[in-house]
Structure formats: C-alpha cells, structure tokens
Symmetry: C2
Subunit: 155 residues, 2 copies
C-alpha cells in the first residue's frame, strides 16, 4: 500500500502515499474533531496501524507506553470513526479528522487532551509560570472507566 520514497519531488508533489516512519517505525498523527475542528489528541501510528485505520475507518494507534497496537476506544467505548486523513508535504505526519459523537479522547476524562493553555509574553517570574485550565468539566470519570488499566502517562 505504501510506496518507497524515491525522490523529494515525488514525495512532495506526487500522488503516491510514501509515509516516513521514524527510527522506531512511527509517524505522528494529529487527531481533530470533524465537527468543531478542535484538536483532540496527538498520537503515533506504525505501518500496520495506519493500514488498519485506512481499511477499517476506525482509528488504530501505536501505544508507546503499552508497546502494542491500540484501537482507540476499546476500553472506554469512545471509538473514533475516521472521516478524513491528510498527509503533509514531506509525508512524515498525518492529520486525521474523526467523529467521536459526544464522547471524549483524553484518558484524564476531558473531551480533548489539550485542556490547558500556556500564558504568553514576558513572564515576570518564570519560576511561577502557571498554565490555565480551558476545560473544567470532565466527560467521564477515568477511575470508573479504566479501573485497573495502567495510566499511559510516563514521567
């Protein structure tokens, strides 16, 4: 399904899909809500996860913490139905637009993983820089949904 990367011109201006997987065999994926356009999460796929996602129209990622293919929503029920996949100029990142209904994409319980923003401009006291919550209400309670599942966040 994926073509070899023969020339820069072919990769940038051509019609063939030649994704660049990094040293670990992964390509970054940005996932947005197809209705609002909001970014829901930033994940990774390996070659197999990308093939499965294209064929089934159901988002499959590579979980770096669990080291396995991960069908998003398998535990929580919040499956991502894929509406569109775009690839960038040098074919080393993907933009995937998905339908999650009224569900959530974030294992902490928020709809989007990006629920906090960073203050901008010269900071008086950089040691005390604080990020601000933009989403205050969780869509679900992760303790109830994930029970004994390991938290994927690594320090």
């Amino acid at each position: 399904m994926f073509k070899k990367r023969h020339s820069i011109e072919e990769v940038e201006e051509g019609k063939y899909l030649s994704p660049k997987f990094d040293k670990n065999g992964l390509i970054p994926v940005i996932t947005t809500d197809f209705k609002t356009g909001d970014i829901l999460m930033h994940g990774y796929m390996n070659s197999n996860a990308l093939k499965k996602t294209i064929e089934t129209k159901k988002a499959h990622y590579w979980s770096r913490s669990r080291k396995k293919i991960w069908v998003k929503g398998q535990v929580s029920g919040f499956i991502q139905k894929v509406k569109k996949i775009k690839i960038d100029d040098d074919q080393d990142s993907l933009w995937m637009s998905v339908d999650i209904g009224k569900g959530a994409s974030c294992h902490v319980g928020y709809r989007s993983c990006f629920y906090r923003s960073v203050p901008l401009g010269k900071i008086k006291n950089p040691k005390n820089l604080k990020i601000k919550f933009n989403e205050n209400k969780k869509v679900f309670d992760p303790k109830k949904i994930y029970k004994n599942e390991l938290n994927p966040t690594k320090l």
Copy 2:
C-alpha cells in the same frame, strides 16, 4: 520556566508547565490557523525554541534537517504570530494557534502543509493507492522565495 516532572497527577491535573522533551530534546508542535482552525504544519521545538516562542509570541522551531533554531518566516517573510499555546494531558505535545495573515506555512508553496488526502476504506488494488490534492493553488513560488536554500525534506 519549566518545572521538573514529579508526579503523574501534577503533570496531568496540575498548573505547572512541565513539558516532556524526547531523547533528542524535542517536543512535537501542531500549528493551526487561528482564523480557520486548519492545521498548517507539524513541527518540533527544543526547550530554548519553546521559551523564545512564549516570550516573543513569534513561532520558533527546531529544524531537524538544519539542526538549528528556526524562526518560521525568516526567509519567506511568513512570520507566525502566536495567538495561543495549549499543552496536552501528559505534556508531551503542544498545540499552537497562529496568525499568518494571507501567507503560507508550507515550503512547497501551499498555505497548509496538509494539501493532500488519503482515500479511505478497502482499497481494490493497494499498490495503486493514490492520494488526492485538496489545495491546487500555491500561495507563493518556492523557487523564487527560497532560491539557494536547501529543501528541508529528507528521503
């Protein structure tokens, strides 16, 4: 400016900025157009690029091909004025919303780097899978703008 990552709870639910830089000292950054919400590009920042971006409100990235900090628009003139930066749950990726006026973000000449989409569903002949152009008109001619600059795309 950045706090050490002490606990998963603090990273996920806390108010301090504790970005996780990978083995190469980089964090992925998704850049969107603050007016349309469209994704313009997917890049990387090191710690210094992130500090400079926050303080100057002008997007600074780490160029993996040129191995140096790169003020976006330095050559093309298409500076990115930063409107908002969000960070995700485990603080290992950033979403930056920018103003590029009527400019472009893609070194190939298109407004967005994501100018092609991938067909979805069971593909009859996977060897002939073709991606589709969604943007047909370039905002600028890269040959005129970049002249002798090296193309950042790597095979």
